[in-house]
């Protein structure tokens, strides 16, 4: 299915491959001999010690069936290597969706797991470093979710995760380090709720405002609309609050501006506040723009606009 460049013998024997796996890969990754490693578990070693004791007992008592049992269990362990390996072999992993999260939240990396056999693969464990493993009896096709608390904003790769199994006997652990090319966008942590800044007065350089006061129409009042724009006459006539809308009126637009904060404030606090404002402005269905050093996002509204603003905040000064 996915062609993988062959490895030279030297690369194949690199220790890093054993410890960390190969680099990130876009396409689905199928586990094969090259990727899967296998070593005894702690219980495997314990089992080995037990076999040694059993063997010594059999020698001491010159016990034929004792030898037979010892060798049977030893062979069982050796054969289980093949079964443990086979349990991983042929599993294919593909990157699924990763929804953006705010810093401090749990990122959920969805990974599609699939294998060609009809019988399920029992006891497949997926684990991110330092996270608790999650084990599955994997049917032919399934999606599993790896979770990790993302502390910092940015665009973070899922990084190396480990798929492993000790099935069937728990004496050997087969594992593969995988690095799927999938990322989670982490927005800044929103600051504590606070009032939105007042809409900016039209700045001098943006004097497109020929019709800054041109009346364009009315719409239903929404919370957050400036009281100055309420169509009071209409309120008198009708029972509804209406907001007057002006075309090209700069002052109807909310600019969320990096420079509006006190000069000594640090970057992350500014971003947190801006994140809070973007969320609140979106919730208020305002038209808002974002002004960051080196990047302006023109005022607009809607989901896509919010995503663009949050992404800009997430990646601010993060570019690699």
């Amino acid at each position: 299915m996915n062609a993988v460049a062959p490895l030279s013998l030297r690369d194949r024997l690199r220790l890093a491959r054993f410890l960390r796996g190969e680099g990130p890969q876009a396409g689905p990754i199928t586990l094969n001999r090259r990727r899967v490693f296998i070593l005894p578990t702690r219980y495997g070693w314990l089992f080995g010690i037990m076999l040694l004791v059993m063997w010594l007992g059999s020698v001491n008592y010159n016990n034929g069936l004792g030898f037979a049992l010892t060798f049977l269990l030893g062979s069982l362990a050796v054969i289980s290597i093949l079964h443990t390996y086979r349990n991983l072999s042929g599993l294919t992993f593909g990157a699924g969706r990763v929804a953006p999260v705010f810093a401090g939240e749990q990122a959920r990396f969805v990974i599609h797991m699939e294998h060609p056999g009809a019988a399920p693969r029992p006891g497949i464990a997926l684990q991110l470093p330092l996270e608790a493993p999650a084990a599955y009896d994997a049917p032919q096709q399934t999606s599993v979710t790896l979770t990790r608390i993302e502390a910092r904003r940015g665009r973070w790769s899922v990084g190396r995760f480990t798929v492993s199994t000790v099935f069937p006997l728990g004496l050997f652990r087969a594992w593969a380090h995988l690095d799927l090319d999938m990322h989670c966008l982490v927005y800044p942590r929103p600051a504590a709720p606070q009032p939105l800044p007042d809409p900016h007065p039209a700045s001098s350089e943006s004097a497109r405002g020929r019709g800054a006061e041109d009346f364009a129409g009315v719409r239903d009042y929404q919370s957050g609309d400036s009281l100055r724009h309420v169509h009071w006459k209409a309120v008198a006539r009708q029972d509804a609050l209406l907001t007057k809308q002006f075309s090209g009126g700069e002052e109807s637009e909310l600019w969320l501006d990096w420079r509006s904060f006190p000069p000594g404030m640090d970057v992350e606090s500014r971003l947190s506040l801006l994140c809070r404002f973007v969320l609140d402005a979106h919730a208020a269905q305002l038209r808002y723009g974002l002004r960051l050093p080196g990047k302006d996002i023109a005022p607009a509204s809607g989901e896509a606009h919010q995503r663009a603003c949050l992404e800009a905040l997430a990646l601010f000064e993060m570019r690699a």
Binding site: L69, V78, P116, P122, A125
Partner: protein
């Protein structure tokens, strides 16, 4: 390195705990019938307690109670056995500790430890019995434990007992070739490495070193195998099947016992071809090794004495196998100067009538050989009977007088004892030889079985220049005066008088065939399971030309690697056992498109691919969409229809680019 967080601490599913306890009960069952009652009862109760606790965890004891129970169990074993070491005490300790461990069995780690101890418990069973039955029974138990181990490693405690058992059987079956190779080839060390406790082996049965009336007759009730013999050539005729054991020199008028004997170079002139054979001797806790009269030299595990006994260096506590050659035609003139005097010893005041009879013969007959014949004729002509149930003699003041002149009913012990005393009283040196007489060939295994029921006693008489001559006075009793046979036919006729003789013959025939077949299986078992040791292994290696370490190493590697590779080759490792036919069909479909240079990208889902195909080649869209829809239905629908697979196959086959 940071400690990896594991799932070993997770609690284990209830069914796994119950399954584990069940498998352990299977392993422990033979012990439970053997150990003192309190240990059986404690083990059963503790196991039941844990099973109860599966549904109601609060009933399980806390750490303090478990500690108290453990100390109680330990002191109980100490009080019962006086030690915690050795076979019996060790097994008992393992049993109670394992039962206690059940109580705290909660996580995967605990169950693993319990299961490993369970495997160990299997081994302790073999210290008590290595029979075929126990072997087969415990193989089933190992299967059960292994299934529990598998069940433990399914994610989320999935419960699939049949699948676990099936996989355990597959694993065991695949392990067996490797196990056999290891069994035969793994270098055997002759134990013991540390001195064995006294209770290492049970008592064996066999001939005693004293002959007193009643001893052999007890033995003759037993059909147990004494030893088996494989002859290199033709087996000797029935009249020559005297298997020589201990030689008895001393008598107190009733009981015979061995005298001192010394190792000696054999000085026997022999003629004819020697008979070579291998004896597999059952454990009997004595030093005697049995050989056909007379052995030419000592086997490698023992020595030969001046009265031609074979003695092992150590008591035969395990089944042993040794090679001997014997000559059935010989002239044994070996007599140390005072040994002839020892062969005339008689207690002076015992059995006066016997003494008088011998002296009366001596007064008539000067020639030793003629006198001997006179004595044998006496047994033949007077109404002596052969019976395994003779009247008791022990309370009589002169038991042999009583036998010779009153009861006249006895078996080999009585006849050989009386005859040897008669000879000694007449001044002819004589001694008693114990052993076995006879043996039946097993037609199914081409070897001879000698049973305890073949135990026999005969005499040897010194006849001047003829040396020691074997005389079997019991053989002088005419068949008409043989009262009881141990023959199966007779036994059958006795217990089932309703069966007519023809039927009985058929039954006897069938019975004998079964007995022979079973013994052939047993013999193979003994040879390969119980008697396979360092020596046999060395012989085997030599036979296959593995005489140097390098050759041996290479042979070992080949023999061990082969079974493993066979299993590896048989198991499809790269893919799952059975690829989904829908996947195969879809791959065929993709291959057809690839020929038209529409190649599915690795990360392209079937639906995206179908859209691209439709864009690139609109005329293929209807078929492509059908195939994609069927494929998705087969792969992703929870209840795929068999019909859909047929349709998919048809569409893929007729798909043309």
């Amino acid at each position: 390195m940071k400690r990896r967080r594991t799932i070993s601490d997770a609690p284990v599913a209830a069914h796994t705990i119950i399954w584990t306890i069940g498998a352990l009960a299977l392993v422990a069952a033979p012990h439970l019938l053997r150990v003192p009652l309190w240990i059986s009862a404690a083990s059963v109760l503790l196991g039941a307690w844990r099973v109860w606790g599966v549904r109601r965890p609060p009933v399980l004891p806390g750490r303090v109670v478990r500690m108290v129970l453990m100390l109680a169990a330990l002191s109980g074993v100490l009080l019962t056995y006086g030690t915690v070491f050795g076979r019996d005490a060790g097994t008992a300790l393992l049993l109670v500790m394992l039962s206690l461990k059940l109580l705290e069995m909660r996580t995967r780690r605990d169950v693993l430890v319990v299961i490993f101890l369970g495997y160990f418990l299997v081994l302790t069973q073999f210290l008590y019995s290595q029979s075929i039955f126990i072997g087969a029974y415990l193989l089933m138990a190992v299967l059960g434990i292994t299934a529990a181990l598998i069940s433990l490693h399914r994610a989320g405690g999935a419960h699939k007992p049949m699948a676990d058992l099936r996989l355990a059987s597959v694993l065991l079956l695949q392990a067996i070739p490797l196990m056999l190779a290891l069994y035969v080839l793994f270098p055997r060390i002759s134990g013991p490495l540390i001195s064995l406790p006294k209770d290492a082996f049970g008592a064996g049965t066999g001939l005693d070193d004293e002959m007193a009336p009643g001893r052999i007759s007890d033995l003759r009730q037993s059909g147990a195998v004494a030893f088996r013999v494989e002859f290199s050539g033709a087996p000797p005729g029935a009249e020559q099947r005297y298997w020589r054991g201990p030689v008895l020199w001393l008598t107190d008028g009733v009981t015979w016992s061995p005298g001192a004997n010394t190792a000696a170079a054999v000085q026997v002139s022999v003629s004819g071809e020697p008979v070579s054979y291998d004896v597999t001797l059952e454990a009997h806790n004595r030093k005697w090794l049995f050989a056909l009269d007379i052995p030419a030299s000592a086997p490698d595990i023992g020595r030969i004495t001046d009265d031609l006994q074979l003695l092992a260096h150590e008591p035969v506590k395990n089944r042993v196998r040794y090679k001997v050659a014997s000559y059935t035609q010989y002239h044994n003139g070996m007599a140390a100067p005072n040994s002839l005097r020892r062969a005339l010893q008689l207690p002076p005041d015992a059995n006066p009538r016997l003494r008088a009879l011998a002296e009366s013969w001596r007064a008539e007959i000067a020639d030793d050989e003629k006198l001997m014949r006179r004595a044998l004729e006496f047994f033949r002509d007077e109404p002596f009977y052969y019976t395994l149930k003779p009247p008791p003699l022990a309370d009589k003041p002169h038991p042999m007088d009583e036998f010779l002149f009153n009861t006249r009913r006895g078996f080999c012990e009585h006849y050989s004892s009386a005859f040897a005393m008669l000879m000694r009283a007449a001044g002819i040196p004589a001694r008693v030889v114990l052993g076995y007489q006879g043996g039946e060939m097993n037609p199914l295994g081409d070897y001879m079985i000698v049973r305890q029921s073949d135990a026999h006693a005969w005499t040897e008489v010194w006849l001047g220049e003829k040396g020691w001559v074997r005389v079997d006075p019991t053989g002088m009793i005419p068949p008409a005066r043989v009262e009881i046979t141990t023959d199966v036919a007779a036994q059958l006729a006795e217990v089932t008088p309703l069966i007519d003789l023809a039927q009985a013959a058929v039954l006897v025939n069938a019975w004998q065939k079964m007995r022979f077949g079973w013994d052939a299986v047993n013999n193979a078992w003994n040879l390969w399971v119980l008697g396979y040791n360092a020596t046999r292994q060395q012989q085997l290696f030599t036979r296959f030309g593995l005489d140097t370490w390098i050759k041996l190493g290479m042979g070992l590697l080949a023999a061990l690697g082969l079974p493993f590779l066979l299993v590896a080759a048989y198991m499809p490792l790269r893919r799952g056992a059975r690829p989904d036919p829908a996947v195969l069909l879809y791959q065929r479909f993709c291959a057809k498109l690839a020929r038209a240079r529409i190649v599915r990208r690795p990360n392209e889902g079937p639906l995206d691919f179908a859209l691209r195909v439709a864009r690139l080649r609109p005329e293929l869209a209807p078929q492509t969409n059908l195939i994609t829809a069927l494929y998705c239905a087969l792969r992703y629908s929870p209840t795929p229809q068999a019909q859909a697979l047929h349709q998919l196959r048809r569409f893929v086959r007729t798909f043309r680019v």
